[in-house]
Amino acid sequence: MAIDVADERVEQAETTLYRRPRLTYGFWSWITTADHKKIGMMYGYTAFFFFIAGGIEALLLRIQLAGPEGAFLSAAEYNGLFTTHAVTMIFLFVMPISAAFFNYLLPLMIGARDVAFPRMNAVSFWIFLFGGIFIYSSLIFGTSPPPVGGNLPGGAIEPSLLGSIPNSGWFIYAPNSGATYSPGTSIDYAVLGLQILGVASLISAVNFIVTILNMRAKGMRLLRMPVFVWMTLVVALLLLFSLPIIAIALFMLTFDRLFGTLFFVAEAGGDPILWQHLFWLFGHPEVYILILPAMGIVSETLPVFSKKPLFGYPAVVFAGAAIAFLGFGVWAHHMFSSGIPTVAQAAFGLSTMTIAIPTGIKIFNWLGTVWGGRVRLNTPMLFSLGFVALFVIGGLSGVTHAVVPSDWQQTDTYYIVAHFHYVLFGGAIFGLFAGIYYWFPKVTGRMLGEGMGKTHFWLMFIGMNLTFGPMHWLGLQGMVRRTWVYPEEAGLGAGNFVVTVGAFVIALGVLVFMINWVYSKRRGVPAPNDPWDARTLEWTMPSPTPEYNFAVEPTVTSLDDFWYQKYGEDEEGRAVRKPEADQVVDDLIYRNGHPDQEIHLPAPSYFPFFVGLGIMVIAYGIMYHTRPFGIPLLVTGAFLTVGALIAWGSEPLEEVHHDDHHDGPEDGPEAAETEPAMTDGAAG
């Protein structure tokens, strides 16, 4: 059977008009790559670029708010910046940098050579990148005239660069986001941009799910997968089920704005609250999409740096799945003051409380992991412990939101801003930095500097608490969200000043990190192959990872299989390093570094890039469909996208080769059926 398939492929390859690109280095190799590691790195660098953009936006906001009645930004600029800060940090930083981790690590951790659909992986990156460019192009092309009341336009706004970016809040609440109250194109950039980003995430979600379910190493049952892989699976499922909801909502809003439908227009019987239900039905799972990858990361690092197995592995896994499942039943806690019925408020308050239970289980198990361990306080461990400490604070303030009447006071104030930054900055970003320090040697072959790393950690940790700690009080003392000025008489100036100072301390920390990165990448200490004495499969390979990942597809007999090859236990249950451990590691690394046959890898392709580009051009065409250049743009974009897809479909599955021999699938039958290019059958 497999042989027939292979023959067909060879035939097909010989009759194809064009060849696939073969470059492995240089600019075009990045454009055409289908290698999950290169794609992961592109995700990482792009996300980090947007992190800097979002960070600068945050600093501008904080300069404006450093004192009462600030005059640094105009109202239009401020509204644009707080919107873009959120959109950037959520959709263009935390999600894609999580995707960077998934892309780079997932195949390595499950013992696979790539993801199930390598070109789909590439296309999701390019769509994401062009989506990000699309949103940011509003800086140049966006327009934001004032709302129209009756037939009188509001007072003119001075045009400015920052005043032309989307300014509706990332939640894009109707009817303020509608054509009447937000004329101009800036909101269209957000709405269509998020739609594009959603397509990218949906594609990669499907890819990760298929990869995890089908391409695990032999012997790696579901409950032998690293927790990070589990959390990837959970996040991918969350994306799969939540993105269609926001896609529909965004389509409805697009049609309201551009084509005159009335879904959310109250005067015509539409329902603005419907938007909120749809948005948060996506938006709350989205919160777990942002935090679960970080939870997966620290579930890997805490055991390694405590030299103990993860405490309660099944509990941590099931808690993660439970959080995701419950996450679909709590959305209306974002709407406790929106006038939804009292019984609904009670129900959503209770369901929200239940989320604290699996979250607590995770935290206690992490504590159990560290307890009694042999704790190495290096930078990745500091970030992991920081994650736990800060996430606890965010979790506790989260419970106070579930106390519905309390939430009536808290909602729409800085108390909420404090809460979700403890979860998303103290949580997600600290976890992601733990991952960056932890896996940097795997990716680059060098260690990320410890001295600067610890400085980075302490600056971020102190800065973060200085920034977001006082916000709890500020909020309940009357600091309303999304206001570009606050009155001096409200007595909030001192607290806000501290917050602004804290924001700059964080910025300093990030600067130290960037210097550390640049320095370590060039001159860092060369990394040993297993620098952390780790537990998972990616450390059985040379660093940096070879293009083909595993020369020998691994077989796994337990959770943390690599660890148990190195360590046994004495009669007390203490870890004992086996005498042959060093030899085992060296052998594994050597074997994986020296393939004894040519390994077949997914061939690069030009077309994912053009699919992404085409989709962006389509979005411009839709937005400007009433302008003379709109329809031509639309047609060009459609032609690009469809053309690239057809070319994609007809390009040879692999490079032409003159070998009619095929070994058939080896030890991963599912893997072979999913993506023939993955097996190393066609030896050349």
């Binding site: 109202a75 509204n79 004032p146 709302p147 009341g149 509001g154 007072g155 509706s168 609440y173 009817p175 303020n176 009447t180 109250y181 109250a266 005067e267 019987g269 603005p272 609250i273 197995p309 309660g312 929106s338 006038g339 009292t342 408020q345 308050g349 239970i357 159990g368 560290v370 307890w371 306080l377 412990l385 736990v388 400490a389 606890v392 506790l396 419970v399 579930a402 106390v403 009447p405 939430d407 009536w408 006071q409 909602t411 729409d412 200085l466 500020l474 309940l476 003392q477 309303v480 001096e488 008489e489 409200a490 007595g491 001192a494 806000n496 501290v498 360590y567 249950g573 870890a575 390093r577």
Partner: protein, 356 residues
């Protein structure tokens, strides 16, 4: 001269201390904070605080326990130079512990859930017999209508003390959110729908409020005031509000102001009862009724005058600032820059301050 010199501490060590001091000062409410929700001035806000504080202290205990355990674990089990720790026991879990830290939080949450639900049902809906006031949200000001008496006013909601008030709210344009922190929580104003907010002030006084939902460009300039007064004062206020506007003395500056009002763009949107009585439907944009403008302590979306206890001079200065260039103070404002001369503004201020 022997006292220890603080400045011996290097700056980088002093700075965090200083910041902490500033932070505590800012956070402890030593300055007056008219929007402070902790300072409840009525039973509704108080019950919310009564619910919040036990949860807060409970959370604080959990915070201390969890962070303490984390710090203790790091302190006890960390590796130090020269003090190698033995290889740890490889413990992969403990079912009893898992059960404990599943069941105990569940019980704690159940204990929180009971008062949450009872308070929620007690506060969420207006009780029968409450005094109704209609609240209508506009970009960017609140309008208040009293269905019992027919009074229409803006920015300042006047209520009698010790009375259960039910705000029946809707919006004329986008979402708004009516928040008087010292009296109650928040509730949206939704176009095409009616929502309810209970309010109850125990003492006469002025309570600050703010629109809490992002409502477009000048969201920050959409505030509100609730003025609670004794029952007698409230009745007197109602009677006054129902009278037509005061007529300026002939030849006075105020009369000149009235002429400017009638001749200019003002009448396109504003009504002064007894001076211009157009059908409200014919107005270009809904704007505050100015019949008893001077009876209100604040205007311009309750943002001016900005002072905590403004004097008459502050009030007039605020009005001057507002009339000079509304869209600069309130970007996107539907009240345009009127191009008035200083002299015309003086006349308008004189007229508007006469509208008691």
């Amino acid at each position: 001269m022997n006292r220890p010199r603080r400045s011996d501490l290097p700056l980088f060590k002093r700075l965090p201390l200083l910041l902490l001091a500033v932070g505590l000062l800012g956070s402890c409410g030593r300055v007056e904070q008219p929007l402070n929700s902790f300072d409840s001035q009525g039973p509704i806000a108080e019950r919310i605080n009564d619910l919040f504080w036990p949860v807060f202290w409970g959370a604080t205990v959990i915070f201390v326990l969890v962070q303490g355990a984390l710090l203790l674990a790091v302190f006890l089990f960390r590796e130090r130079k020269g003090k190698e720790r033995p290889e740890p026991k490889q413990i992969a879990g403990n079912t009893r512990l898992e059960l404990i830290w599943t069941v105990v939080p569940t019980l704690i949450l159940a204990a929180i859930a009971v008062p949450t639900i009872t308070t929620l049902f007690d506060l969420a809906e207006c009780p029968a017999g409450a005094m109704e006031i209609e609240v209508i949200g506009h970009q960017w000001w609140f309008e208040f209508r009293y269905p019992d008496s027919g009074v229409v006013t803006a920015n300042v909601m006047v209520i009698p003390e010790d009375t259960e008030v039910c705000a029946k709210m809707t919006s004329d344009d986008v979402l708004h959110n009516f928040w008087i922190p010292k009296l109650a929580g928040k509730r949206y104003l939704v176009p095409g729908q009616e929502t309810e907010q209970r309010l109850y002030a125990e003492q006469p006084g002025e309570y600050w409020g703010h629109c809490a939902e992002f409502c477009g460009l000048s969201h920050a300039r959409m505030r509100a005031r609730v003025e609670a007064m004794t029952q007698a004062d409230f009745e007197a206020w109602t009677t006054e509000q129902l009278m037509p506007a005061a007529t300026p003395a002939p030849g006075s500056e105020a009369e000149r102001g009235q002429e400017i009002f009638l001749a200019g763009t003002c009448v396109g949107c504003h009504i002064i009862d007894g001076v211009n009585n157009p059908d409200p439907e014919t107005l270009t944009v809904p704007a505050p009724d100015l019949t008893h403008f001077a009876s209100r302590s604040v205007f311009a979306g309750a943002t001016l005058p900005a002072q905590l206890s403004p004097t008459d001079a502050d009030w007039e200065a605020g009005l001057r600032l507002w009339l000079t260039d509304p869209p600069t103070w309130k970007p996107g404002s539907f009240m345009p820059e009127l191009g008035l001369t200083a002299d015309e503004i003086d006349a308008l201020v004189a007229y508007l301050s006469s509208l008691e």
